[in-house]
């Protein structure tokens, strides 16, 4: 960040909050500090990262020799691995992000950062990139555990699988920010966000496959969670006759709705008092 000067040496205000390529190192630096914030709380970090790994171990261990008939008779293990990769995205980009943003707002951290020279776009970019890193770590760990420990194969359609997870990250990040604006205080952030999240992921087929067309599937098809799980499972296993576009469209619609709510309701200062 530099200041312009007139020929007489007086400062002239520099207009704009974007300085081009010279801003990129600052974004990288802020991502570093966002990561530092996450890892400096080792218990929180271990629980966040370890949750999906523990789950994949439990579900892979208990699902051996079972198959999913309506999904081209794939092994149940082949179902759980991409499903928990999707969970990693949702946990990092929605659950953890929403709770973290509420806490930051209520602690006054957002207000302090708003009053620093760090532009809003740079702060939010760093937060989102840091969230994507945490999600990616979970995805990589889940895939490594599944492939090395349980002989799971895939992804068969790696391009679509990556696209689905990236769209999922964008959509659930927008929803995470939106939900954070609806939570009134830090005390209720964890219970409210987690309750909604864990009920919906259970109903949407994370712990057990939900057959398309069933009543439960029809209900959970309204929400983006099931679409991320289904598109991840289909692309990871290369299930014939499936297409991710409808799932991507639903996630995109929810993401746009999240952006709309976030822009309208975002607050920098604590809601309390």
């Amino acid at each position: 960040m530099t200041a312009a000067t007139t020929p007489s040496g007086a400062d002239v205000p520099v207009r704009g909050s974007f300085r081009g390529v010279s801003d990129l190192p600052l974004v990288g630096r802020q991502v570093y500090f966002e990561q530092l914030t996450f890892w400096l709380n080792p218990i929180g970090a271990a629980i966040t990262i370890g949750f999906s790994v523990v789950f994949i171990v439990i579900f892979e261990s208990t699902s051996r020799h079972s198959t999913v008939g309506y999904l081209a008779h794939i092994d149940l293990g082949q179902y759980y691995l991409p499903a928990f990769a999707a969970y990693g995205v949702m946990a990092a980009c929605f659950n953890i992000l929403a709770i973290q943003l509420v806490n930051r707002r209520e602690m006054g951290l957002l207000k302090r950062q708003r009053l620093s020279p760090l532009p809003t776009w740079m702060l939010l970019s760093a937060v989102f990139l840091s969230t994507a890193i945490i999600a990616t770590i979970q995805i990589v760990l889940v895939i490594l555990v599944g492939r090395l420990g349980y002989d799971v194969h895939g992804p068969q359609d790696i391009g679509t699988f990556v696209l689905v997870l990236v769209v999922g990250m964008l959509s659930f990040t927008a929803l995470g920010v939106a939900v954070s604006t609806l939570v009134p205080n830090a005390d209720s952030a964890g219970p409210i966000v987690s309750l909604v999240f864990f009920i919906l992921i259970a109903l949407s087929g994370l712990y057990f496959p939900v057959k398309a067309g069933s009543g439960l599937a029809t209900f959970t098809d309204v929400f983006p969670i099931r679409h991320l799980i289904v598109a991840s499972v289909d692309s990871f296993n290369g299930i014939p006759g499936t297409s991710p576009w409808n799932d991507l469209l639903v996630m995109a619609i929810w993401g746009v709705a999240g952006v709309f709510v976030a822009l309208r309701r975002w607050e920098w200062s604590p809601k309390r008092g």
């Binding site: 205000p13 909050s17 302090r112 620093s116 920098w268």
Partner: protein, 311 residues
Amino acid sequence: MPAVSVEHLRKAYGDNLAVRDVSFEVQKGEVFALLGPNGAGKTTCVEILEGFRDRSSGRVETLGVDPADHATQRWLRTRIGVVLQELAVEPYYTVRQVLTRNAGYYPNPRPVPEVIELIGLRERADDRIKRLSGGQQRRLDVGLGIIGNPELLFLDEPTTGLDPSGRRETWELIHRLAAAGTTVMLTTHYMDEVEALADRVAVLYGQEIVAEGTPSSLGGRDLGAVTIRFRLPDGVTVESLPVPAVPADDGHVAVHTDDEVRVLHELTGWALAHGLPLVGLSVLRTSLEDVYLGLTRGVGSDAVHGPAVGL
């Protein structure tokens, strides 16, 4: 060009008026205090000057730019420092880490070790913030305000929550910053803080400024009556004194006058002539607190809190 210029500033939240028709200027290098009871609009004024909150009407300039102009906010924020009313620091960082992070936001920051020294946290520099005492955390907040080497420093009740020695150290730090040319604008409700720090003070009452001047002249206190007090000598009655006096507490008497030189002359001449001591003789001018209470008495129920600020 003044560091801060405010003309007819008005801020309303719906039907609630938080600030009405406020005007003042802060000159470069000056320490300016905004004094007022809770809810008078001090924080709203400061947040508008920082560009954190938009105004309803009026003209405001901070370091020559409109703080509400988003195009120059990034520039402006490299030149101002802010100490918030409440502590806002990540608990898991160390003192050094959080100062290093924030230093990177500014083009010409103060060296981190220098700031650590200035705020008196050298021994705790590598401790996590959650392990610091409340006073130490408050000092770190001040450190975050000055890490960018600001031209203009906003201090929103900077010594609230500090013990007496912490307050003195913060005052000393503010004196040093002001001596080095930093313009300081502070809000406070401590009279002694205003008297110790401010070059000029404005009293905000009922959402508008009701008095402005130097701490020693505010509300005409440099021109008003003085009170002369002393212990009544043994065997002397109030009526027998050479000047009109009234009984006060602890066996003292008080003489209220606008002509303290003449009254003191008469009184001390009389005492010398009679060989009487005037134990505890003191001349008291109207205190800043007296002036402040006179201006703000009855305020407090009309507090207006601002809503949160959106993108």
